[in-house]
């Protein structure tokens, strides 16, 4: 491992933060970027769960260097499935709050506290990160357009008024995490979560977050054309129960 990534971890001290969130990181072939993400997370949070979604690279071995829980899907199921696995695991371990966090370093650890604040005060059951309330770095125009269309689609079909629909940074209270059940294995899970928030009457709000795009994350991330597939999966998922 790179010597510069040797972290000073918080470990399990900080008993004053008993309501520390459980951070769920779904990772698929993220060996190159996962180390830096876990390095940041483990400095501040003691309950981090990495769900290795059937990676064929050294994602699992990278995670083993950090004081985190590592769950391994023996087959690649998709990000939605990996997040649900992490959430179920956290709930099994009496997590009071759950935060979903991308493995590729797009998110800022500092934003987690911004998300947690409405949960701690009881103002919301679910807090959704919004890059359009916050900041983006290196967001391509094409991706911006697709995200805006996603917002419009969500308003029309889910009747949820949000400014950002496919942001992987979100926080859920224990009660909300227990009521949301992700069945969309792949990328349509983000819209499915919004659907379920609406259907189950959960209190939600948005919080500003920063998303940093890089060449690497854009190259590995989903193509803008995947939006069409996501819409298809979501509509079929509504019909098939």
């Amino acid at each position: 491992m790179n010597a510069t990534l040797q972290p000073t971890f918080v470990q399990t001290v900080r008993p004053e933060l008993a309501d520390d969130p459980w951070i769920i990181v779904a990772a698929y072939n993220e060996a190159a970027r996962l180390g830096a993400t876990l390095d940041m997370l483990c400095r501040r949070y003691s309950n981090v769960v990495v769900v290795d979604d059937g990676s064929t690279d050294t994602t699992r071995q990278t995670a083993l260097h950090y004081p985190v829980w590592i769950l391994r899907h023996m087959l690649n199921c998709g990000q939605g499935a990996a997040l649900q696995t992490g959430i179920s695991f956290a709930l099994r371990h009496d997590a009071k709050n759950v935060v979903t966090f991308d493995a590729d370093g797009q998110h800022c650890v500092e934003d987690i506290e911004t998300l947690m604040e409405p949960l701690r005060t009881g103002r919301a059951d679910v807090v959704l990160g919004s890059r359009f309330l916050g900041r983006t770095e290196g967001l391509p125009l094409g991706r911006w357009l697709v995200l805006k269309l996603g917002v419009l689609f969500t308003r029309l079909f889910s009747n949820v008024r949000v400014t950002d629909t496919h942001n992987g940074l979100r926080a859920l209270s224990r009660a909300a995490a227990g009521r949301v059940c992700i069945q969309q294995n792949r990328m349509a899970h983000a819209s499915e979560i919004l659907d379920q928030i609406q259907a189950r009457g959960l209190k939600y709000c948005e919080a500003p977050v920063t998303i940093r795009y890089s060449h690497a994350t854009l190259a590995k991330g989903q193509s803008s054309w995947n939006a069409v597939r996501i819409v298809g999966q979501l509509l079929l998922g509504r019909v098939i129960r």
């Binding site: 491992m1 040797q6 971890f9 990495v50 769900v51 071995q61 995670a63 083993l64 260097h65 950090y66 004081p67 985190v68 829980w69 590592i70 769950l71 391994r72 899907h73 023996m74 087959l75 199921c77 499935a81 649900q84 696995t85 179920s88 695991f89 099994r92 069945q183 294995n185 079929l236 998922g237 098939i240």
Partner: protein, 115 residues
């Protein structure tokens, strides 16, 4: 009867005989096997007497007998596609649940490789 009728009816007769023979050993629902046998029977009737299909076409307001077959297949294709997609999604969910169960039961604690 023309050559096509001879060949296709012979083939359908063999298929129906095979269905009867394997009826007792079949693990499929009886209704499903009978429905399949009925499809072969209807196909045999339509081939042996094309006027029968034309009569049906006229009765339901479609011009040609061949169009009845075409429309039926188009509708059947949609139904079958939807059915199999539903089965696929349900199977995928079941597989995911198994994988999730195993992943949670075999959770590892990291830090073991930390120097």
């Amino acid at each position: 009867m023309n050559l096509f009728q001879w060949l296709s009816l012979s083939f359908l007769a063999l298929v129906m005989l095979w269905e009867i023979r394997s009826y007792r050993r079949s693990t499929l629902p009886r209704g499903f096997v009978l429905a399949r046998w009925l499809v072969w029977l209807l196909a045999a009737l339509a081939i042996s007497d094309p006027n029968l299909l034309q009569y049906v076409a006229n009765f339901i307001g479609i011009g040609r007998g061949a169009d009845v077959v075409l429309y039926c297949f188009a509708l059947l294709f949609l139904v079958v596609s939807f059915y199999f997609y539903s089965r696929y999604v349900r199977l995928q969910r079941q597989v995911t649940q198994i994988i999730r169960h195993l992943a949670m039961d075999e959770a590892e604690r990291g830090d073991s490789l930390r120097p």
